[in-house]
């Protein structure tokens, strides 16, 4: 019981920290913010239920007025911007990523990469694109094209990182992957 609570709370803090550190410079110096990586890791490490709850807790604190979204954004106002679809998709993305992780029998690294791709790109983009199209009046087709051009390269890298981090966790301490417990 207490363990569930603290894991959810600490991973909510991890998502926030990943959005606050300016950016991770990848090999080659491609700068990306890591917030959605935190969402993917919530799913692949904590599993579906706890992962989704951690993301939800993070969003509630953002709504309450903590500037925890990447770029220092926060407050209720962010739920009225065109990014609202992505925000609402975050917990669902973590849930789906966790669900995939729990269900497949692939090795942890591969499974986490697949889970992050399905949850963190497939599901998240579906929510995000509908959000953009609804809030801006742009057609779904154009919104998809825009989202793909703007975010897909960075997010594809993040799914690989989510896979690598999860694989390393599994190797260093197999019991740490609660999604596979």
């Amino acid at each position: 019981m207490e363990r569930n609570l603290t894991h959810i709370a600490l991973f909510a803090a991890l998502i926030a920290v990943l959005g606050l550190i300016p950016k991770i410079d990848l090999a080659g110096g491609v700068p990306i913010t890591a917030q959605s990586l935190g969402v993917m890791l919530c799913g692949t490490v904590l599993g579906a239920r706890r992962g989704a709850l951690a993301v939800l807790l993070f969003l509630v604190l953002v709504a309450a007025g903590l500037p925890l979204l990447s770029g220092g954004r926060g407050g209720i106002g962010v739920f009225a911007t065109p990014s609202v679809g992505f925000l609402l998709g975050f917990p669902v993305a973590a849930f789906v990523a966790g669900w995939v992780m729990e269900r497949t029998t692939l090795p942890p690294g591969m499974a986490a990469w697949a889970a992050a791709t399905i949850g963190g790109i497939g599901v998240l983009y579906a929510f995000g694109i509908i959000g953009i199209a609804y809030m801006t009046g742009v057609s779904v087709r154009e919104a998809s094209l825009g989202a793909a051009l703007a975010f897909l390269p960075g997010d594809a890298i993040k799914t690989v990182i989510a896979g690598l981090v999860t694989q390393n966790l599994a190797r260093m301490r197999p019991t740490s992957l609660l999604s596979r417990a």
């Binding site: 019981m1 207490e2 363990r3 609570l5 603290t6 894991h7 959810i8 709370a9 600490l10 991973f11 909510a12 803090a13 991890l14 926030a16 920290v17 606050l20 550190i21 991770i24 410079d25 990848l26 090999a27 110096g29 890591a34 990586l37 890791l41 490490v45 807790l57 993070f58 509630v60 604190l61 709504a63 309450a64 007025g65 903590l66 500037p67 925890l68 770029g71 954004r73 926060g74 407050g75 209720i76 106002g77 962010v78 739920f79 009225a80 911007t81 809030m135 801006t136 009046g137 742009v138 154009e142 825009g146 990182i161 690598l164 981090v165 390393n168 966790l169 260093m172 301490r173 740490s176």
Partner: protein
């Protein structure tokens, strides 16, 4: 930890948080019903007035919070000009500015503790599903307490990487950071249990 609440005290700081949130919900719904650019511009004017009633410093701080919106404004303007529907674009832009501006106004004039109290009250029905409000309060407190701790730890991990390698740390620092979060969670859980549990 910095919050978005404005240090400039305005009259709106003294209005109860629940009242402000309820009014915000009604007003935002109204904004999505309104379809005429004139009406929306009038509403936006009222919102600008709200900000100015808190003084110029307050209004400038409010304007700064709207900065992340400009790429969207640009995209919406270009798209609607290209599809030959400038009025539609104007409606979208005015509505977006008004809705975000109004919500930011509530955030800027409400202390974090008041907002958290409201959320806990709103979450009270969740008790039926086995989530007592006290546990929610504990979760909020844990996140806020562990944010600076984890930021510090990120710094330390980065520093110890740089002490050993001329290369950039890259994604590798995330492994010890995640592992540390998992370890902290276990220890805090133990400490909570030792002090009578999460309730």
């Amino acid at each position: 930890m910095l919050t978005l609440t404005s240090p400039v005290e305005t009259w709106a700081h003294r209005v109860r948080a629940g009242v402000k949130l309820a009014l915000l919900a009604v007003a935002t719904t109204g904004l999505f019903v309104l379809g005429s650019p004139l009406a929306l511009a009038a509403v936006l004017g009222v919102i600008v007035g709200l900000y100015l009633s808190g003084g110029t410093d307050f209004a400038i701080a409010g304007l700064r919070l709207l900065r992340p919106l400009w790429p969207f404004v640009l995209i919406v303007a270009l798209w609607h000009l290209w599809t030959g529907n400038p009025v539609g674009g104007l409606v979208v832009i005015l509505r977006m500015l008004a809705a975000v501006g109004l919500a930011n106004f509530v955030t800027m004039t409400t202390r974090l503790s008041d907002m958290v109290t409201i959320f806990q009250r709103l979450a009270r029905p969740l008790q039926v599903f086995g989530l007592p409000p006290r546990r929610l309060a504990l979760a909020f407190a844990l996140v806020i307490r562990f944010l600076p701790v984890m930021l510090d730890r990120m710094e330390q991990i980065g520093a110890s990487w740089r002490a050993r390698s001329p290369r950039r740390p890259g994604w590798r620092v995330l492994v010890p950071a995640t592992l540390a979060a998992l370890d902290d969670a276990d220890r805090v859980a133990e400490a909570l249990r030792a002090r009578g549990g999460a309730g």
